[in-house]
Symmetry: C2
Subunit: 253 residues, 2 copies
Protein backbone atom coordinates (compact mmCIF):
# COMPACT_ATOMS: atom_id res chain seq x y z
CA UNK A 1 0.00 0.00 0.00
CA UNK A 2 1.86 2.98 -1.35
CA UNK A 3 0.86 6.45 -0.19
CA UNK A 4 1.63 9.88 -1.52
CA UNK A 5 0.80 13.30 -0.06
CA UNK A 6 2.01 16.70 -1.30
CA UNK A 7 2.66 17.29 2.42
CA UNK A 8 5.40 14.75 3.36
CA UNK A 9 4.57 14.96 7.08
CA UNK A 10 1.09 13.62 6.29
CA UNK A 11 2.55 10.61 4.48
CA UNK A 12 4.86 9.93 7.44
CA UNK A 13 1.89 9.97 9.83
CA UNK A 14 0.09 7.43 7.61
CA UNK A 15 3.20 5.23 7.50
CA UNK A 16 3.69 5.34 11.27
CA UNK A 17 0.04 4.35 11.73
CA UNK A 18 0.60 1.46 9.26
CA UNK A 19 -2.17 2.82 7.05
CA UNK A 20 0.38 2.56 4.23
CA UNK A 21 3.50 0.43 3.84
CA UNK A 22 5.54 2.72 1.61
CA UNK A 23 5.80 6.43 0.75
CA UNK A 24 6.18 7.55 -2.87
CA UNK A 25 8.11 10.68 -3.85
CA UNK A 26 5.52 11.44 -6.49
CA UNK A 27 2.33 9.76 -7.76
CA UNK A 28 3.82 9.61 -11.26
CA UNK A 29 6.72 7.49 -10.07
CA UNK A 30 4.69 4.61 -8.63
CA UNK A 31 1.39 4.60 -10.46
CA UNK A 32 2.35 1.97 -13.05
CA UNK A 33 2.79 -0.76 -10.42
CA UNK A 34 -0.57 -0.09 -8.68
CA UNK A 35 -3.69 -2.27 -9.06
CA UNK A 36 -6.09 0.17 -7.35
CA UNK A 37 -5.41 3.91 -7.41
CA UNK A 38 -7.44 6.03 -4.99
CA UNK A 39 -7.33 9.78 -5.57
CA UNK A 40 -8.39 11.23 -2.20
CA UNK A 41 -7.96 14.85 -3.28
CA UNK A 42 -10.15 17.95 -3.81
CA UNK A 43 -11.96 18.26 -7.16
CA UNK A 44 -9.35 20.32 -9.06
CA UNK A 45 -6.43 18.13 -8.01
CA UNK A 46 -8.48 15.08 -8.96
CA UNK A 47 -9.20 16.50 -12.43
CA UNK A 48 -5.48 17.28 -12.88
CA UNK A 49 -4.30 13.92 -11.56
CA UNK A 50 -6.63 12.01 -13.89
CA UNK A 51 -5.03 13.80 -16.83
CA UNK A 52 -1.47 13.32 -15.53
CA UNK A 53 -1.85 9.69 -14.57
CA UNK A 54 -4.00 8.40 -17.46
CA UNK A 55 -1.06 7.74 -19.81
CA UNK A 56 0.98 6.14 -17.02
CA UNK A 57 -1.32 3.60 -15.40
CA UNK A 58 -1.27 -0.10 -16.27
CA UNK A 59 -4.12 -1.38 -18.49
CA UNK A 60 -5.39 -3.59 -15.65
CA UNK A 61 -5.32 -0.86 -12.99
CA UNK A 62 -8.55 0.57 -11.60
CA UNK A 63 -8.80 4.22 -10.57
CA UNK A 64 -11.30 5.88 -8.27
CA UNK A 65 -11.79 9.12 -6.30
CA UNK A 66 -13.76 10.40 -3.28
CA UNK A 67 -15.00 13.83 -4.46
CA UNK A 68 -18.26 15.42 -3.34
CA UNK A 69 -19.01 16.32 -7.00
CA UNK A 70 -19.18 13.54 -9.54
CA UNK A 71 -20.28 14.80 -12.99
CA UNK A 72 -17.09 16.81 -13.77
CA UNK A 73 -14.92 13.94 -12.51
CA UNK A 74 -16.71 11.34 -14.64
CA UNK A 75 -16.44 13.60 -17.72
CA UNK A 76 -12.71 14.02 -17.11
CA UNK A 77 -12.14 10.28 -16.67
CA UNK A 78 -13.93 9.59 -19.95
CA UNK A 79 -12.07 12.44 -21.67
CA UNK A 80 -8.73 11.01 -20.52
CA UNK A 81 -9.54 7.59 -21.99
CA UNK A 82 -10.13 5.97 -18.58
CA UNK A 83 -13.72 4.95 -19.34
CA UNK A 84 -12.88 1.26 -18.88
CA UNK A 85 -10.76 1.69 -15.74
CA UNK A 86 -12.41 4.39 -13.67
CA UNK A 87 -15.37 4.46 -11.29
CA UNK A 88 -16.24 7.49 -9.16
CA UNK A 89 -16.92 7.14 -5.45
CA UNK A 90 -18.21 9.50 -2.78
CA UNK A 91 -18.40 8.27 0.80
CA UNK A 92 -20.87 10.23 2.95
CA UNK A 93 -18.37 10.38 5.77
CA UNK A 94 -16.73 13.80 5.65
CA UNK A 95 -16.41 16.16 8.58
CA UNK A 96 -15.13 19.72 8.90
CA UNK A 97 -11.67 18.27 9.59
CA UNK A 98 -8.98 17.29 7.11
CA UNK A 99 -5.57 15.61 7.03
CA UNK A 100 -4.48 12.19 8.27
CA UNK A 101 -5.27 13.14 11.87
CA UNK A 102 -8.96 13.27 10.88
CA UNK A 103 -8.91 9.75 9.38
CA UNK A 104 -11.14 7.36 11.31
CA UNK A 105 -12.01 3.93 9.85
CA UNK A 106 -15.14 3.75 12.03
CA UNK A 107 -16.65 6.68 10.10
CA UNK A 108 -16.66 4.51 6.98
CA UNK A 109 -18.32 1.50 8.55
CA UNK A 110 -21.97 1.44 7.50
CA UNK A 111 -21.75 4.78 5.72
CA UNK A 112 -23.36 5.34 2.33
CA UNK A 113 -20.82 5.52 -0.51
CA UNK A 114 -22.13 6.64 -3.88
CA UNK A 115 -20.62 4.84 -6.88
CA UNK A 116 -20.71 6.29 -10.41
CA UNK A 117 -20.05 4.24 -13.57
CA UNK A 118 -18.60 5.47 -16.85
CA UNK A 119 -21.12 3.53 -18.96
CA UNK A 120 -18.95 0.90 -20.68
CA UNK A 121 -19.02 -2.79 -19.79
CA UNK A 122 -15.44 -2.64 -18.50
CA UNK A 123 -16.39 0.52 -16.58
CA UNK A 124 -19.20 -1.50 -15.01
CA UNK A 125 -16.66 -4.11 -13.88
CA UNK A 126 -14.41 -1.33 -12.53
CA UNK A 127 -17.38 0.02 -10.53
CA UNK A 128 -18.05 -3.47 -9.14
CA UNK A 129 -14.41 -3.69 -8.02
CA UNK A 130 -14.53 -0.23 -6.39
CA UNK A 131 -17.87 -1.01 -4.71
CA UNK A 132 -16.42 -4.31 -3.49
CA UNK A 133 -13.44 -2.50 -1.98
CA UNK A 134 -15.74 -0.13 -0.05
CA UNK A 135 -18.10 -2.87 1.06
CA UNK A 136 -15.76 -5.76 1.84
CA UNK A 137 -12.64 -3.98 3.08
CA UNK A 138 -14.16 -0.87 4.70
CA UNK A 139 -17.66 -2.06 5.63
CA UNK A 140 -19.44 0.80 3.84
CA UNK A 141 -22.74 0.53 1.89
CA UNK A 142 -22.22 1.24 -1.84
CA UNK A 143 -25.14 2.74 -3.79
CA UNK A 144 -25.00 3.17 -7.61
CA UNK A 145 -26.07 6.63 -8.78
CA UNK A 146 -26.02 8.67 -12.00
CA UNK A 147 -23.36 11.42 -11.71
CA UNK A 148 -25.73 14.29 -12.59
CA UNK A 149 -28.38 12.96 -10.19
CA UNK A 150 -25.68 12.68 -7.53
CA UNK A 151 -24.63 16.31 -7.94
CA UNK A 152 -28.24 17.55 -7.89
CA UNK A 153 -28.95 15.54 -4.71
CA UNK A 154 -25.74 16.52 -2.95
CA UNK A 155 -26.48 20.18 -3.66
CA UNK A 156 -29.38 19.76 -1.23
CA UNK A 157 -28.08 17.24 1.28
CA UNK A 158 -24.49 18.45 1.65
CA UNK A 159 -23.54 21.57 -0.30
CA UNK A 160 -26.54 23.57 0.96
CA UNK A 161 -25.98 22.75 4.67
CA UNK A 162 -22.31 23.60 4.10
CA UNK A 163 -23.23 26.91 2.44
CA UNK A 164 -25.75 27.69 5.22
CA UNK A 165 -23.06 27.25 7.87
CA UNK A 166 -20.72 29.55 5.93
CA UNK A 167 -23.46 32.18 5.48
CA UNK A 168 -24.31 32.14 9.18
CA UNK A 169 -20.66 32.41 10.21
CA UNK A 170 -20.09 35.17 7.64
CA UNK A 171 -23.00 37.21 9.05
CA UNK A 172 -21.88 36.70 12.65
CA UNK A 173 -18.25 37.52 11.82
CA UNK A 174 -19.21 41.18 11.43
CA UNK A 175 -20.94 41.48 14.82
CA UNK A 176 -17.90 41.60 17.08
CA UNK A 177 -19.22 38.93 19.44
CA UNK A 178 -16.76 36.83 21.47
CA UNK A 179 -16.71 33.05 21.56
CA UNK A 180 -18.11 33.01 25.10
CA UNK A 181 -21.38 34.49 23.75
CA UNK A 182 -22.18 31.32 21.77
CA UNK A 183 -23.79 28.19 23.16
CA UNK A 184 -23.23 24.68 21.86
CA UNK A 185 -26.28 24.89 19.58
CA UNK A 186 -24.93 27.92 17.72
CA UNK A 187 -21.50 26.29 17.52
CA UNK A 188 -22.93 23.12 15.99
CA UNK A 189 -25.06 25.05 13.51
CA UNK A 190 -21.87 26.71 12.21
CA UNK A 191 -19.52 23.76 12.63
CA UNK A 192 -19.26 23.04 8.90
CA UNK A 193 -17.89 26.58 8.39
CA UNK A 194 -14.71 25.26 10.04
CA UNK A 195 -14.15 23.17 6.88
CA UNK A 196 -11.38 24.08 4.44
CA UNK A 197 -12.33 27.13 2.32
CA UNK A 198 -10.02 25.90 -0.46
CA UNK A 199 -11.88 22.60 -0.72
CA UNK A 200 -15.30 24.24 -0.67
CA UNK A 201 -14.50 26.92 -3.22
CA UNK A 202 -13.82 24.00 -5.56
CA UNK A 203 -16.85 21.90 -4.65
CA UNK A 204 -19.31 24.81 -4.90
CA UNK A 205 -17.68 26.04 -8.12
CA UNK A 206 -18.03 22.58 -9.69
CA UNK A 207 -21.75 22.38 -8.86
CA UNK A 208 -22.95 25.94 -9.48
CA UNK A 209 -26.37 25.33 -11.00
CA UNK A 210 -27.81 22.84 -8.49
CA UNK A 211 -26.30 24.78 -5.56
CA UNK A 212 -27.71 28.07 -6.89
CA UNK A 213 -31.19 26.51 -7.09
CA UNK A 214 -30.89 25.32 -3.49
CA UNK A 215 -29.66 28.73 -2.31
CA UNK A 216 -32.50 30.46 -4.15
CA UNK A 217 -35.12 28.33 -2.40
CA UNK A 218 -33.37 28.98 0.91
CA UNK A 219 -33.61 32.73 0.28
CA UNK A 220 -37.33 32.29 -0.35
CA UNK A 221 -37.79 30.26 2.84
CA UNK A 222 -35.87 32.92 4.80
CA UNK A 223 -38.06 35.66 3.30
CA UNK A 224 -41.15 33.67 4.30
CA UNK A 225 -39.94 33.39 7.89
CA UNK A 226 -39.23 37.14 8.05
CA UNK A 227 -42.72 37.86 6.69
CA UNK A 228 -44.43 35.59 9.25
CA UNK A 229 -42.48 37.28 12.04
CA UNK A 230 -43.09 40.85 10.90
CA UNK A 231 -46.79 40.15 10.41
CA UNK A 232 -47.04 38.61 13.88
CA UNK A 233 -48.59 35.51 12.26
CA UNK A 234 -48.05 33.07 15.13
CA UNK A 235 -50.15 30.31 13.56
CA UNK A 236 -48.14 30.55 10.32
CA UNK A 237 -44.90 30.68 12.28
CA UNK A 238 -45.92 27.57 14.24
CA UNK A 239 -46.71 25.70 11.00
CA UNK A 240 -43.36 26.71 9.55
CA UNK A 241 -41.35 25.63 12.59
CA UNK A 242 -43.40 22.44 13.00
CA UNK A 243 -42.69 21.38 9.39
CA UNK A 244 -38.96 22.00 9.89
CA UNK A 245 -39.03 20.24 13.27
CA UNK A 246 -40.81 17.19 11.87
CA UNK A 247 -38.30 16.89 9.05
CA UNK A 248 -35.29 17.16 11.37
CA UNK A 249 -36.73 14.63 13.83
CA UNK A 250 -37.47 12.34 10.89
CA UNK A 251 -33.84 12.11 9.76
CA UNK A 252 -32.50 11.30 13.23
CA UNK A 253 -30.45 8.12 13.23
CA UNK B 1 -37.10 21.94 47.30
CA UNK B 2 -40.63 21.91 45.99
CA UNK B 3 -41.20 21.21 42.31
CA UNK B 4 -44.20 21.71 40.09
CA UNK B 5 -44.72 20.68 36.47
CA UNK B 6 -47.97 20.86 34.45
CA UNK B 7 -46.95 17.34 33.40
CA UNK B 8 -47.09 15.26 36.64
CA UNK B 9 -44.82 12.53 35.19
CA UNK B 10 -42.05 15.13 34.85
CA UNK B 11 -42.34 16.08 38.52
CA UNK B 12 -42.21 12.41 39.51
CA UNK B 13 -38.99 11.95 37.51
CA UNK B 14 -37.44 14.93 39.30
CA UNK B 15 -38.54 13.55 42.69
CA UNK B 16 -37.12 10.09 41.94
CA UNK B 17 -33.83 11.68 40.93
CA UNK B 18 -33.88 13.67 44.23
CA UNK B 19 -33.70 16.91 42.24
CA UNK B 20 -36.69 17.98 44.34
CA UNK B 21 -37.94 16.81 47.74
CA UNK B 22 -41.67 17.45 47.29
CA UNK B 23 -44.22 17.82 44.48
CA UNK B 24 -46.80 20.60 44.56
CA UNK B 25 -50.29 20.21 43.06
CA UNK B 26 -50.12 23.76 41.79
CA UNK B 27 -47.60 26.61 41.98
CA UNK B 28 -50.24 28.83 43.62
CA UNK B 29 -50.61 26.42 46.52
CA UNK B 30 -46.98 26.46 47.67
CA UNK B 31 -45.52 29.75 46.50
CA UNK B 32 -46.04 31.62 49.79
CA UNK B 33 -43.65 29.33 51.70
CA UNK B 34 -40.81 29.59 49.11
CA UNK B 35 -37.66 31.69 49.54
CA UNK B 36 -36.43 31.36 45.96
CA UNK B 37 -38.90 30.81 43.11
CA UNK B 38 -37.46 29.69 39.78
CA UNK B 39 -39.78 29.87 36.80
CA UNK B 40 -38.20 27.47 34.29
CA UNK B 41 -40.94 27.92 31.69
CA UNK B 42 -41.28 29.31 28.12
CA UNK B 43 -41.78 33.09 27.76
CA UNK B 44 -45.60 33.20 27.70
CA UNK B 45 -46.00 30.91 30.71
CA UNK B 46 -43.39 33.00 32.54
CA UNK B 47 -45.30 36.22 31.80
CA UNK B 48 -48.54 34.58 33.01
CA UNK B 49 -46.95 33.07 36.13
CA UNK B 50 -45.42 36.40 37.17
CA UNK B 51 -48.91 37.94 37.10
CA UNK B 52 -50.53 34.99 38.90
CA UNK B 53 -47.89 34.61 41.58
CA UNK B 54 -47.08 38.27 42.30
CA UNK B 55 -49.93 38.78 44.83
CA UNK B 56 -49.19 35.44 46.52
CA UNK B 57 -45.43 35.45 47.19
CA UNK B 58 -43.93 36.39 50.56
CA UNK B 59 -42.33 39.87 50.80
CA UNK B 60 -38.90 38.28 51.39
CA UNK B 61 -39.14 35.81 48.49
CA UNK B 62 -36.96 36.23 45.41
CA UNK B 63 -38.20 35.26 41.95
CA UNK B 64 -36.23 34.52 38.82
CA UNK B 65 -36.65 32.89 35.39
CA UNK B 66 -34.51 31.28 32.66
CA UNK B 67 -36.01 32.71 29.44
CA UNK B 68 -34.03 33.37 26.27
CA UNK B 69 -35.73 36.81 25.99
CA UNK B 70 -35.34 39.23 28.86
CA UNK B 71 -36.89 42.64 28.06
CA UNK B 72 -40.56 41.49 28.05
CA UNK B 73 -39.96 39.46 31.24
CA UNK B 74 -38.35 42.40 33.07
CA UNK B 75 -41.21 44.71 32.01
CA UNK B 76 -43.77 42.20 33.28
CA UNK B 77 -41.97 41.76 36.63
CA UNK B 78 -41.93 45.54 37.11
CA UNK B 79 -45.56 45.84 35.98
CA UNK B 80 -46.61 43.20 38.53
CA UNK B 81 -44.95 45.08 41.40
CA UNK B 82 -42.05 42.62 41.69
CA UNK B 83 -39.33 45.23 41.02
CA UNK B 84 -37.75 44.65 44.44
CA UNK B 85 -37.97 40.85 44.36
CA UNK B 86 -37.26 39.78 40.79
CA UNK B 87 -34.06 39.30 38.77
CA UNK B 88 -34.03 37.76 35.30
CA UNK B 89 -31.58 35.00 34.41
CA UNK B 90 -30.67 33.26 31.17
CA UNK B 91 -28.17 30.40 31.30
CA UNK B 92 -26.45 29.74 27.96
CA UNK B 93 -26.93 26.02 28.39
CA UNK B 94 -29.96 25.03 26.32
CA UNK B 95 -30.02 22.24 23.78
CA UNK B 96 -32.66 21.06 21.31
CA UNK B 97 -33.98 18.76 24.03
CA UNK B 98 -36.53 19.49 26.73
CA UNK B 99 -38.06 17.87 29.79
CA UNK B 100 -36.44 16.49 32.93
CA UNK B 101 -34.66 13.78 30.92
CA UNK B 102 -32.61 16.55 29.25
CA UNK B 103 -31.52 18.04 32.61
CA UNK B 104 -27.76 17.72 33.13
CA UNK B 105 -26.05 19.64 35.92
CA UNK B 106 -22.70 19.45 34.07
CA UNK B 107 -24.11 21.69 31.34
CA UNK B 108 -24.46 24.49 33.88
CA UNK B 109 -20.93 24.25 35.28
CA UNK B 110 -18.85 27.06 33.82
CA UNK B 111 -21.63 28.22 31.49
CA UNK B 112 -22.40 31.91 31.06
CA UNK B 113 -25.63 32.97 32.78
CA UNK B 114 -26.93 36.45 31.97
CA UNK B 115 -28.47 38.31 34.91
CA UNK B 116 -30.85 41.26 34.45
CA UNK B 117 -31.74 43.72 37.22
CA UNK B 118 -34.99 45.65 37.64
CA UNK B 119 -33.22 48.90 38.57
CA UNK B 120 -34.16 49.38 42.23
CA UNK B 121 -31.73 48.91 45.12
CA UNK B 122 -33.70 45.92 46.41
CA UNK B 123 -33.79 44.60 42.83
CA UNK B 124 -30.00 44.86 42.84
CA UNK B 125 -29.87 42.75 46.00
CA UNK B 126 -32.28 40.23 44.42
CA UNK B 127 -29.96 40.02 41.40
CA UNK B 128 -26.98 39.41 43.71
CA UNK B 129 -28.87 36.56 45.37
CA UNK B 130 -29.83 35.03 42.02
CA UNK B 131 -26.28 35.41 40.68
CA UNK B 132 -24.96 33.83 43.89
CA UNK B 133 -27.31 30.87 43.44
CA UNK B 134 -26.02 30.27 39.89
CA UNK B 135 -22.38 30.76 40.82
CA UNK B 136 -22.12 29.06 44.21
CA UNK B 137 -24.66 26.24 43.91
CA UNK B 138 -24.46 25.49 40.18
CA UNK B 139 -20.92 26.59 39.28
CA UNK B 140 -22.05 28.87 36.42
CA UNK B 141 -20.53 32.28 35.52
CA UNK B 142 -23.05 35.12 36.02
CA UNK B 143 -22.71 38.22 33.81
CA UNK B 144 -24.85 41.33 34.39
CA UNK B 145 -26.50 42.67 31.24
CA UNK B 146 -29.14 45.23 30.27
CA UNK B 147 -32.33 43.40 29.15
CA UNK B 148 -32.60 45.20 25.78
CA UNK B 149 -28.89 44.67 25.09
CA UNK B 150 -29.37 40.99 26.00
CA UNK B 151 -32.21 40.56 23.53
CA UNK B 152 -30.31 42.33 20.74
CA UNK B 153 -27.22 40.16 21.35
CA UNK B 154 -29.15 36.90 21.65
CA UNK B 155 -30.93 37.66 18.37
CA UNK B 156 -27.48 37.15 16.77
CA UNK B 157 -25.88 34.52 18.96
CA UNK B 158 -28.85 32.22 19.56
CA UNK B 159 -32.10 33.17 17.83
CA UNK B 160 -30.46 33.56 14.40
CA UNK B 161 -28.64 30.17 14.51
CA UNK B 162 -31.94 28.67 15.67
CA UNK B 163 -33.83 30.35 12.81
CA UNK B 164 -31.13 29.26 10.30
CA UNK B 165 -31.53 25.64 11.35
CA UNK B 166 -35.32 25.88 10.97
CA UNK B 167 -34.99 27.54 7.54
CA UNK B 168 -32.60 24.85 6.30
CA UNK B 169 -34.81 22.04 7.59
CA UNK B 170 -37.90 23.74 6.11
CA UNK B 171 -36.26 23.93 2.67
CA UNK B 172 -35.06 20.34 2.80
CA UNK B 173 -38.43 19.06 4.04
CA UNK B 174 -39.88 19.66 0.57
CA UNK B 175 -37.20 17.68 -1.31
CA UNK B 176 -38.34 14.15 -0.46
CA UNK B 177 -34.86 13.03 0.62
CA UNK B 178 -34.51 10.16 3.10
CA UNK B 179 -32.52 10.30 6.30
CA UNK B 180 -29.82 8.05 4.85
CA UNK B 181 -28.92 10.81 2.35
CA UNK B 182 -27.64 13.11 5.10
CA UNK B 183 -24.20 13.00 6.68
CA UNK B 184 -23.37 14.03 10.23
CA UNK B 185 -22.43 17.57 9.13
CA UNK B 186 -25.86 18.23 7.61
CA UNK B 187 -27.52 16.70 10.67
CA UNK B 188 -25.57 18.96 13.04
CA UNK B 189 -26.28 22.06 10.95
CA UNK B 190 -30.01 21.37 11.38
CA UNK B 191 -29.90 19.95 14.90
CA UNK B 192 -31.50 23.04 16.49
CA UNK B 193 -34.56 22.50 14.26
CA UNK B 194 -35.30 19.52 16.52
CA UNK B 195 -36.11 22.04 19.29
CA UNK B 196 -39.69 22.57 20.42
CA UNK B 197 -41.65 24.68 17.86
CA UNK B 198 -43.96 25.90 20.66
CA UNK B 199 -41.03 27.32 22.63
CA UNK B 200 -39.47 28.97 19.59
CA UNK B 201 -42.68 30.52 18.30
CA UNK B 202 -42.73 32.34 21.64
CA UNK B 203 -39.05 33.31 21.75
CA UNK B 204 -38.97 34.63 18.17
CA UNK B 205 -42.31 36.41 18.65
CA UNK B 206 -41.00 38.15 21.78
CA UNK B 207 -37.88 39.42 19.98
CA UNK B 208 -39.21 40.35 16.54
CA UNK B 209 -37.22 43.48 15.77
CA UNK B 210 -33.68 42.27 16.59
CA UNK B 211 -34.36 38.86 14.99
CA UNK B 212 -35.76 40.52 11.85
CA UNK B 213 -32.59 42.63 11.55
CA UNK B 214 -30.44 39.51 11.88
CA UNK B 215 -32.54 37.63 9.30
CA UNK B 216 -32.34 40.57 6.90
CA UNK B 217 -28.54 40.60 7.05
CA UNK B 218 -28.53 36.84 6.56
CA UNK B 219 -30.64 37.23 3.41
CA UNK B 220 -28.09 39.76 2.15
CA UNK B 221 -25.17 37.45 2.91
CA UNK B 222 -26.98 34.60 1.14
CA UNK B 223 -27.61 36.84 -1.89
CA UNK B 224 -23.91 37.75 -1.91
CA UNK B 225 -22.90 34.08 -1.92
CA UNK B 226 -25.29 33.33 -4.80
CA UNK B 227 -23.87 36.29 -6.75
CA UNK B 228 -20.26 35.16 -6.24
CA UNK B 229 -21.19 31.66 -7.38
CA UNK B 230 -23.18 32.71 -10.43
CA UNK B 231 -20.44 35.14 -11.51
CA UNK B 232 -17.80 32.43 -11.13
CA UNK B 233 -15.87 34.82 -8.86
CA UNK B 234 -13.58 32.26 -7.20
CA UNK B 235 -11.40 34.88 -5.50
CA UNK B 236 -14.47 36.57 -4.00
CA UNK B 237 -15.88 33.18 -3.01
CA UNK B 238 -12.59 32.26 -1.34
CA UNK B 239 -12.61 35.55 0.63
CA UNK B 240 -16.19 34.95 1.72
CA UNK B 241 -15.58 31.37 2.89
CA UNK B 242 -12.26 32.31 4.52
CA UNK B 243 -13.92 35.06 6.59
CA UNK B 244 -16.62 32.64 7.72
CA UNK B 245 -14.04 29.92 8.40
CA UNK B 246 -11.84 32.26 10.46
CA UNK B 247 -14.79 33.34 12.57
CA UNK B 248 -15.96 29.77 13.23
CA UNK B 249 -12.43 28.62 14.13
CA UNK B 250 -12.10 31.65 16.41
CA UNK B 251 -15.07 30.71 18.58
CA UNK B 252 -13.92 27.12 19.10
CA UNK B 253 -13.73 26.22 22.80
Amino acid sequence: MIGYSPNPAEAVKALKATAITEIADSPVQVVRQCDLIILATPPKATLDLLQTLAPLVGREAILTDVCSVKAPIMRQALGCGLGDQFAGAHPLAGTHESGFVAARPDRLRGCVVYICETGSLAGHRAAAAVAGFWEEILGASPIRIDPEAHDRQLAWTSHLPQASAYVLAKVLSSQGLGGVSFGSGARDTMRLAASSPDLWVEVLSQNVKPVSTALEQTQEALAELRMLLSQGDEAGLRNYLTTAHGFRRGIER
